[in-house]
């Protein structure tokens, strides 16, 4: 039982990170109907920014409280990662809006390749390890919970609440939802569609940057190619939950996290990704629009 709860906690931690990234996929999909393939690499950029900020902080200050360091890392990562995603949208996606559907997908894949290789060229191809930031561990009834895990889950929960508020209760969120429904109509009603889309990209990037910072803190290492696997997993999570649905993205992220940790614990760690992907395929066979996605009505 303890073992099971332990895995549940591991899954929750992993799922939180996936969920944060998945929201970026799902929001962009919701508003402009494209898969932002570069989003996984945006997450990696976020982690790298956190890494460099950490290195700068440790170089400049002899000692700095960990909480403060983490906060600064997170904020700088959010700002600069947003700048990346904003630029990507403006340069690579906006000119293709309303054109051929596959064109932005290809530019997104191109951007993904370019971003990871840019980091490889600029920062070198090797693993970048940092010393453990948060080492404290609690043991409750045979279950080990690290402070890292608590931070991850807590930060995710706070951000999701904020986010939920932003999307559901503010004028900005209303504009976003309006653009999702009908972009042309929204524009006619005086919503600045370009700006709303830019903000959506910025919001997605901020969450990805937080996920990147947490990822760096949790695993203590980052490498230029780390965008792909979490990116694909988060994308899987977004689709599993029903792409376009924000609660779906979180649910999908948690599900993927649980599946992975449970599969590794009880079956085989080698096949954990195979399990996650297979479950995605099986779920989609029975629910072609994901778990919380709106079913696509075939209009005849």
């Amino acid at each position: 039982m303890e073992y099971f709860i332990q895995q549940l906690i591991n899954g929750l931690t992993l799922g939180s990170i996936y969920g944060l990234i998945a929201i970026g996929y799902t929001m962009v999909y919701g508003i402009i109907g494209m898969i932002n393939f570069a989003h996984g690499d945006v997450f990696m950029i976020g982690a790298f920014i956190a890494l460099i900020v950490f290195l700068v902080l440790t170089t400049v200050f002899y000692s700095i409280p960990v909480a403060l360091a983490l906060l600064i890392m997170m904020i700088v990562a959010m700002l600069l990662t947003s700048l990346y995603n904003w630029t990507i949208e403006k340069v690579a996606y906006r000119p293709l809006r309303g054109s051929f559907r596959l064109a932005p997908l290809i530019t997104a894949i191109g951007m993904s390749i370019a971003l990871s290789n840019f980091v490889q060229v600029a920062q070198g191809p090797r693993n970048k390890p940092i010393p453990p930031l948060v080492g404290r561990v609690y043991e409750i009834g045979g279950v080990v919970i690290s402070l890292k895990q608590i931070i991850i889950v807590a930060v995710t929960a706070v951000l999701l609440t904020l986010f939920w508020y932003l999307v559901n209760k503010t004028a900005l969120g209303r504009a976003q939802r309006a653009c999702e429904q009908d972009r042309k109509m929204a524009a006619l009603l005086g919503i600045d569609v370009d700006r709303t889309i830019s903000i959506t990209f910025i919001m997605g990037a901020s969450l990805a940057a937080v996920a990147g910072t947490l990822f760096l803190m949790y695993y203590g290492v980052i490498v230029f190619s780390d965008g792909f696997v979490p990116g694909v997993k988060a994308f899987t999570a977004a689709v599993l939950g029903g792409i376009g649905s924000i609660p779906g993205a979180v649910l999908g992220g948690l599900l993927i996290g649980f599946i992975e940790s449970m599969w590794s614990a009880y079956f085989s760690i080698d096949y954990k990704d195979v399990a996650a992907f297979s479950i995605l395929a099986i779920v989609l066979i029975f629910m072609p629009s994901g778990i919380l996605g709106r079913p696509e009505v075939e209009k005849v």
Binding site: A103, N117, A122
Partner: protein, 464 residues
């Protein structure tokens, strides 16, 4: 890019383009400073204690930011107005020119040139010097041409977005690698076998995804590709895991002669020539050329048959297809199967050429590159796809050859490092420049009076 610029320029007040360019350049400078300050200005490096430290590179950062500003300045100030002017000129004068001899016989000339290519290379670079050009350029590009033509059936014709095409390539490669090493079967038996196995896997993938559309289809095909790769990595007893399979037998020429130096009927011995690795490469070049031409031939043939038309109709409107009595399930499955089959052929060729396969060769990036070639070429257009393969694969391969750059940037400069970075950027730039691909128009499969190309503005891209 041009569209974005023209959008941001208010039509009523037209400030001088140079002033605008300066403003845009300054803005770009600020943005690029923000983007690059941490990544180029600082570098994380390991010191002697294996700890990370930051190294500053403010000079490089300044150069990059300055270049970005200059680029933006030139683009906004000169390039974009020039494009606009050209566009306006073109719109005015509809150029109608009689197709010349070269244009009319382009296909025949191209095929002829491809057959003569090794001869030309050998005569200019010599037998040993030809190796690189035939192998890295000829064979490498032709493999991608064939793969892209295969994927074109699924994506370009049937309009089903497949992000896991490399899985079929892997199935073909491992089929050949395992069956040839374990059972010692000949390539000529295993080539069709690999094709059939890949087609079988195409149907296996096809079944669950029949009901899925668009991005759901994309992620499941991507997942399928990853599943195949992960199984190849983890099923160590059979596939030897990440280490891969080496010592895969070479292809022989129908048993008449082989390319193993030790064999009595070695090509060099049979024809009284010396020993050289180039023979095998040239043989492989012609083999992949023929395989690619077979792919093209079958595609062209199929397009004029009911099944090919049904694929294109499916891309245009699935519901209308069903209302005309077309079994869309079977139509989709045949597209998956036939596309996969060509992937399988290419895979078995790849295994034979490399003599070594490992899961490393079948990562998602490969699927992405193949898909990019299909889209960049213009979906459905065989010549367009071939052009895209030459530009994208040849273009990045040629970077390896640019040693003169070392003279400019110093001896530590390795152009290969920038290969994939430039590849990614090229994908973006080409797509922005030609969103419909190099050849956007569609060739009709039948005509009553005159064959007229269909403008890309009418064709659809499918929902699947």
């Amino acid at each position: 890019m041009t569209q974005a610029v023209s959008l941001s320029a208010p039509a009523t007040t037209a400030p001088s383009p140079i002033a605008r360019a300066v403003r845009e350049a300054l803005f770009a400078g600020v943005i690029s400073f923000g983007l690059f300050v941490l990544f180029i200005g600082l570098k994380s490096d390991q010191n002697i204690d294996n700890r990370l430290i930051v190294v500053t590179r403010w000079g490089t950062l300044a150069i990059v930011v300055a270049l970005t500003m200059l680029g933006r300045f030139l683009f906004v100030g000169f390039l974009a107005p020039a494009f606009q002017a050209r566009k306006a000129r073109r719109a005015k004068v509809e150029v109608v020119s009689e197709a010349g001899f070269v244009k009319r016989n382009l296909l025949a000339i191209a095929i002829f040139a491809l057959f003569l290519y090794p001869v030309f290379i050998i005569s200019t670079a010599g037998l040993q010097g030809s190796l690189k050009w035939v192998d890295n350029f000829g064979i490498q590009i032709l493999i991608y041409v064939m793969l892209a033509w295969g994927l074109n059936i699924v994506v370009g014709l049937a309009g089903l977005l497949d992000l896991g095409y490399v899985a079929f390539y892997a199935v073909g490669a491992y089929s050949y690698a395992l069956l040839a090493s374990e059972l010692g079967w000949s390539f000529w038996i295993l080539l069709p076998t690999a094709g059939i196995l890949a087609a079988f896997w195409g149907v296996i993938l096809g079944f669950p995804v029949l009901r899925l559309r668009g991005d759901y289809l994309a992620i499941v095909t991507l997942a399928f590709g990853e599943i195949i790769r992960l199984v190849l990595i983890n099923w160590r007893e059979v596939t030897n895991g990440s280490a891969g399979i080496s010592g895969i037998p070479k292809i022989d020429f129908f048993g008449w002669f082989t390319f193993n130096v030790s064999d009595p009927n070695y090509f060099g011995k049979v024809f009284g020539l010396g020993v050289s690795g180039a023979y095998y490469k040239i043989f492989l070049y012609y083999l992949i050329l023929l395989l690619a031409l077979l792919t093209a031939f079958v595609t062209i043939r199929l397009r004029r048959m009911p099944v090919g038309r049904a694929w294109e109709a499916l891309r245009e409107d699935e519901i209308a297809c069903r209302s005309l009595g077309i079994n869309t399930t079977n139509t989709k499955l045949t597209a998956f199967a036939i596309g996969a089959m060509f992937g399988g052929f290419a895979g078995s060729f790849f295994a034979a050429r490399q003599g070594f396969v490992s899961p490393e060769s079948f990562v998602f990036l490969e699927s992405a590159i193949i898909l990019a070639i299909v889209v960049l070429g213009g979906m459905g257009s065989l010549p367009g796809i071939a052009i895209a393969a030459v530009v994208m694969i040849g273009g990045t391969e040629i970077l390896r050859e640019m040693n003169f750059l070392k003279l400019i940037f110093g001896p530590s400069f390795t152009p290969e490092l920038y290969r994939m970075l430039l590849f990614g950027l090229a994908m973006v730039i080409v797509m922005l420049w030609k969103p419909r691909g190099f050849v956007g128009s569609r060739e009709p499969t039948a005509f009553l009076r005159a064959r007229k190309a269909v403008s890309s503005s009418f064709t659809k891209e499918g929902h699947g």
